[in-house]
Amino acid sequence: MTPMVRAESVTKRFGPVEVLKGIDLTVRPGEVACLLGPSGSGKSTFLRCINHLERIDGGQLWVDGELVGYRRHGDKLHELKAREVAVRRRDIGMVFQRFNLFPHLTALGNVIEAPVRVLGIPREQAREQAMRLLDRVGLTERAGNYPSQLSGGQQQRVAIARALAMRPKLMLFDEPTSALDPELVGEVLDVMKGLAADGMTMVVVTHEMGFAREVADQVAFLDGGVVVESGTPTEVLGNPRHDRTRAFLDKVL
């Protein structure tokens, strides 16, 4: 089976600083992969490379069998134009630490925006689908509210519904609960657990060890721009082989 995400020696530099120094990672369809690691280790950068918000400088990165950012034509690789990149991103949902909801649209407006404008789905049909999604994240009553009228947890759940409205085959989460008050973390994690149970392929950057242990099929520990070790949660969290992993886990647990 084609892996959903396959990274081979992916490198990325910002000016003189090499932030990713050869990332290797494979995520199979239906799998949940959690990325752990200290601040500045390159977790967000790697996640953003997967949907081409950042351009990689070296190595290779495939999503569902297609090279990120390139189109194969005969034996040549053509770099994609902005428009073509946008088309590829339709299949990959992303949820941000700071929600990034559109403040000038209601919760419902946020969810139907891309299906209507990008996929050209008729408004009524998009609305029905959006209401089902808002119901799934427990926010039917809040459909008419603007983001500024919602709590952080509610905003993040709208953001998840917004991403799901594009029917993605892969979901990326960048510390989705880090900006939330502790009592609001659970409601967002519950939605994510539901998604995982439904078989969604997910790559999740998180510091929630409980979530990783319970939901992840694979845990990868990043440090200094490389994957130091990866494996099942039991292996990596329960019995880390590397000192750096152990030191990190001692700090967060």
Binding site: A86, F96, H104, V118, G144, S148, R162, A163, M166
Partner: protein, 284 residues
Amino acid sequence: MTTDTTAVRVVPVRHYGRWLTALIVFGLAALFLRALFTSPNLEPGTITHYLFKDYVLDGVVTTLWLTLLAMLLGTAGGIVLAVMRLSENPVLRGVSWTFIWVFRGTPLLVQIIFFGFLGALFPRITLTVPFTGTVLFDRPTSVVVTGTVAAVLALSLNEMAYAAEVIRGGILAVDGGQTEAAAALGMSPTLTLRRVVLPQAMRVIIPPMGNETITMLKSTALVSIIAGRDLMTAVQTVYQNNYKVIPLLVVAAIWYLALVSLLSAGQWLIERRFGRGFTRGGVR
């Protein structure tokens, strides 16, 4: 300890200063109005006589549509220039920068006269199909660029330069996370600009653009120099014949004030529209 307010009398803060300033202001206003109405040159009768004359009303209408047209073209061009200046294409950036440099760097009056006398620089406007010699269009410039066309050209090109900077500021004020979220949803750069960035930039753009509109309304008076048929030209024509300068300037002033008030009301409505979602109370 809590204060029991039922038992004691509550004395609100007394604003003696306000009363004093009000007294002074009313006094000064009364003195000024007396001077005004006892002046033999104000001629209230003349003012009312000309206020609703058909050529004055024509001038009012011209001034209003000249303002609105110049603002419409200016804003549309301003958006294009702003996007060009923020583009990654160095040629577009350069073109936009140069345009803004020229049109902000020279007086509007000079630009108006320049377009009014464009025929002196380019006597004919000719359009040919390249390499064939077929002439599509050939007319004397003075026929194509009439006083009105010159006025619209000068005002809107000038406005584009100022609007571009206002709009660029508005676009830059929108959080970068918004563009990223739109990109992650598969929205193209143009769609993102139209549906996500500009609607949010509007909140920042509208107050200064309201200012621009009011400035524009008054700047239209400058086109009287090239016989622009606006309000100012209308009253000028009258007082050049009857020498009743002051009453006719008051006529113009009354109309400009009325138009500005109208535009301010419009601005309030637009601001309310684009403020949606930005306050906790929010307009549903």
